[in-house]
């Protein structure tokens, strides 16, 4: 089919969805299934710390696959450009668009309006985070907690002068399976916002930091177990978790922070059966090859 012919171009133009032609769309009737009412939380804590929060309402058109983020961006583009919203990837990969949607922390890009099964969508900033503006919150404390658990591989064997002789950490698929689930965390903050302990205890690290502490604890390439456990084994650490399970309930990536916390607790109590294996570095120095060849010759 040649779409560059004049008659074909006209045909394609006629097939463009109605949502693009703004002037023809009805946005007043709540019974009209092609539009929903969007209630957006508005506050400007940066400009005015005493600002009184309120809700603004927008009627936005929706199609079958319209997400909450699409609806918010539609309202921002065509009705009120001052709406503060954080987003990036639009595919549940970056975690930027976390917010409370109809009372539950969710990713706006990952929540379809059709799944919510309501004509009124209420968008609020994530709980347990300080407001910046509208739907944008301050993640500084969240990242501080994450940093406090030292979320990186620490292996003293790697700190050697002649690092060129060593190539890689050997890790079996079984070792990988021990922590792989927890490595899917995108730091969206939904678990932190859903946690009831975080709401009352400011010093509690939160489910994200604790699950990442387990992720690196369970990693066979990591050898610095004690320092990381000292950070979380405090009066406001891992033991203040009440096992509500809200964190695992809201996680968009299936990380299950509650599981990580309970596994880490069992390690701290000394009742865990799984042994933590220390990584074995592959020695690729020239001497090691000669020794292997000599052993093979002797065996022959």
């Amino acid at each position: 089919m040649n779409i560059f012919r004049k008659d074909k171009r006209k045909k394609i133009k006629n097939e463009i969805p109605l949502e693009i032609k703004r002037s023809n769309i009805s946005t007043t009737s709540s019974s009209n299934k092609s539009s929903v009412k969007l209630r957006v939380f508005r506050i400007n804590a940066v400009k005015n710390p005493n600002d009184v929060p309120h809700f603004d309402e927008f009627h936005v058109p929706v199609k079958r696959w319209t997400t909450v983020l699409d609806a918010l961006l539609d309202a921002k583009s065509y009705q009120d450009s001052s709406i503060g919203i954080r987003y990036s990837c639009r595919m549940a990969s970056c975690g930027s668009c976390g917010m409370k949607i109809n009372g539950i922390p969710r990713l706006a890009c990952y929540t379809k309006i059709s799944d919510l099964d309501t004509n009124t969508i209420t968008c609020e900033p994530l709980p347990n985070f300080p407001y910046i503006r509208d739907l944008v919150t301050d993640f500084s404390q969240f990242f501080n907690h994450h940093r406090s658990v030292m979320p990186f591989i620490q292996n003293k064997k790697a700190d050697i002068p002649n690092v060129n002789e060593l190539t890689e950490y050997e890790q079996s698929p079984q070792d990988l399976d021990k922590f792989l689930q927890f490595s899917y965390c995108i730091k969206c903050g939904l678990c932190y916002s859903a946690c009831p302990t975080v709401a009352t205890d400011l010093k509690f690290p939160g489910p994200q930091a604790l699950s990442q502490a387990y992720r690196y604890f369970a990693d066979s390439r990591d050898s610095d177990k004690s320092n990381r456990l000292k950070v979380i084994d405090t009066s406001h650490g891992i033991w203040r978790c009440h096992f509500a399970g809200s964190c695992s309930n809201v996680c968009p990536k299936g990380v299950d922070p509650a599981l990580g916390i309970q596994l880490l607790r069992s390690h701290l109590l000394g009742i865990s059966n799984s042994e933590k294996k220390i990584a074995k570095l592959q020695d690729r120095s020239p001497n090691s090859y000669r020794e292997e060849e000599e052993e093979e010759e002797e065996a022959d």
Binding site: A45, P49, N128, F129, P130, Y131, I132, D138, S140, Q141, N144, S148, T197, T200, D201, L202, K203, D233, T234, S235, H236, G237, W239, R240, L268, L269
Partner: protein, 143 residues
């Protein structure tokens, strides 16, 4: 909750620099050790209280509360030890639980220290007073 309130809490700073030397950085037990004791005392208390309840069911309720019968319980060494163990296990478990609840309400350094000290003092006080009662009752002579 604003950003300023979070910053003012100084959660990630080393608070020992801003505190008095007295009782600063004293850690008798790690939190995991405290919680291990908490779990063991909880299970233990459940067990001994079950025995205590079963012992109370061996006679009618109104007879069980008569003064002479109560004193006779204390005069039985094994029963006195059972009551002492109930006292110790429940005091430790209960006051540690209270400490956890109070620590979650507020997180200032003065509050945390006050809670820790008061809980330990109350625990020791209750155990001491209860032990005194058991010892006096054990030595109490009827008539």
């Amino acid at each position: 909750m604003t950003s300023d309130s979070i910053k003012n809490n100084n959660i990630n700073k080393n608070n020992s620099k801003n505190t008095t030397k007295w009782f600063s950085n004293i850690t008798l037990l790690r939190e995991s050790q405290i919680m291990k004791i908490h779990y063991i005392t909880g299970v233990g208390a459940l067990f001994v209280v079950a025995i205590h309840i079963m012992m109370r069911l061996i006679m009618p309720f109104n007879m069980s509360l008569e003064f002479e019968n109560v004193i006779l319980n204390y005069k039985n060494v094994f029963y006195a030890l059972l009551l002492e163990s109930i006292l110790i296990l429940i005091a430790i478990h209960g006051f540690n639980g209270l400490r956890v609840i109070l620590l979650e309400i507020r997180q200032t350094q003065i509050w945390e220290r006050a809670v820790n000290i008061l809980v330990i003092v109350a625990m020791i006080g209750i155990i001491a007073y209860g032990t005194r009662t058991i010892i006096i009752a054990n030595g109490f002579s009827l008539g």
